[in-house]
């Protein structure tokens, strides 16, 4: 279980507990947090669950696997802290994670 803070582009914060084994994307979708579309449902095929990971957290996350950066090339305004939230698996180590949503996904 990890407490994750999702910050919408307008600054609105959502603090929710997400079960281990879910992804950060699923944590948002299951809690009706706006700002993450996840059009493809988590198969790393669409780049609409794009988030910016808060600075100090970015390096603590497990590294991106092959293909994630390729999808991120197709995201809305990616930067060096960009991740696809469907590729971040929740575990106890992620307790306190903060992610910010881009202005839009498409």
């Amino acid at each position: 279980m990890a407490k994750i803070k999702y910050i919408e582009h307008n600054g609105k914060e959502h603090l929710v507990e997400v079960r281990n084994g879910l992804t950060v994307m699923e944590g948002a979708v299951q809690n009706d947090i706006p700002g993450i579309d996840a059009d493809c449902g988590g198969s790393m095929s669409c780049a609409t669950c794009h988030v910016y990971v808060k600075e100090d957290w970015y390096d603590k996350l497990p590294k991106k696997e092959m293909g994630e950066d390729d999808m991120l090339d197709q995201a809305y305004e990616p930067n060096s802290r960009s991740r696809l939230s469907c590729q971040i698996m929740v575990s106890d180590e992620l307790d306190g994670l903060i992610v910010q949503m881009p202005e839009k996904q498409v």
Binding site: D37, D39, C40, A47, D70, D73, Q74, Y76, S80, V106
Partner: protein, 337 residues
Amino acid sequence: MIETDVVIVGAGPTGLFCAHQLGIIGLKCEIVDNLDKIGGQCIELYPDKPIYDIPAVPECTGEELTNNLIKQIEPFNFNFHLNDRVQNLKKENESWIVKTTNGKEFRTPNIVIAGGVGSFEPRKFTTKNAEKFDGKSVLYSIKDKSIFKDKSVAIFGGGDSALDWAIELSNTSKVSLIHRRDEFRGAHASVKKIKELSDKNVINLFTKYSIKDVKGNGSLEEVEIKSEDGESKILKTDYVLGFFGLIMQLGPIAEWGLNLDKKVIPVNTENFETNKKGIFAIGDICTYPGKLKLILSGFHEGALAARGCFKYARPNEKYRFEFTTASNTIKDRLGVK
């Protein structure tokens, strides 16, 4: 003007199976899709990824599923209108007049929207000024490469489209290639070629840069690019090309006066009709209490929507339920003995 019983918007699995059900009950349909191929998301997003939850098919890929669905509707000889998009609708008596982007017209009592999460469209630049030049000197696809001859072209992106066009256009144009990171996702051989051309100064390569602004008085004159740490450069250019892959947009459907719940269309679960008579929505694009975004749910929805269409296509006939195993009429339609 093409007269038909049903126009299906979207050639993904849901649209294809709905077409099958229409064929089974003796109705005609025309299928329109924005992509250049049949299969929707299954083909565009995950042709090689295995799917495990199609009833009675333990495992298949998006491509196999699509091919089987195409085979299943072959007996009906339905027309596909690919690379085209349903643009606007007009009610005329009991019919809908449907116009496509390519200028085709249909007269039909029924429209079935099986549009998935929308139509695939190129992702565009987010800079406001890019809109001013959109379609003239800021482009997201190339129809006629001769317009770039002896011009300077700034290409953005790191995939095969960006790399292939950078290589191709470097023969006759002054090409700059700009990508947000050092790695490219294009084919290995193309990446190698790009590096060679860059070493020979044939192509100006800018990695870890993205677009900041485009400028020009009337016609495009320059593009400003920025690095992650805020440093910016100005490149003189006649054209700016963006290749960032495809995104899904609801597109013109949003203008049809349908009730919308964010990006999906509420329907009733009896025949999947929307708030507009004769317009049905099935698959990922529809919503109702308990909706599951599964291909199998789309099949069920398509079967019921097809029966809903029958009522308007054959107002003077009574729909009679039949099994494919037992009905000679259906066997005739399928061309089997």
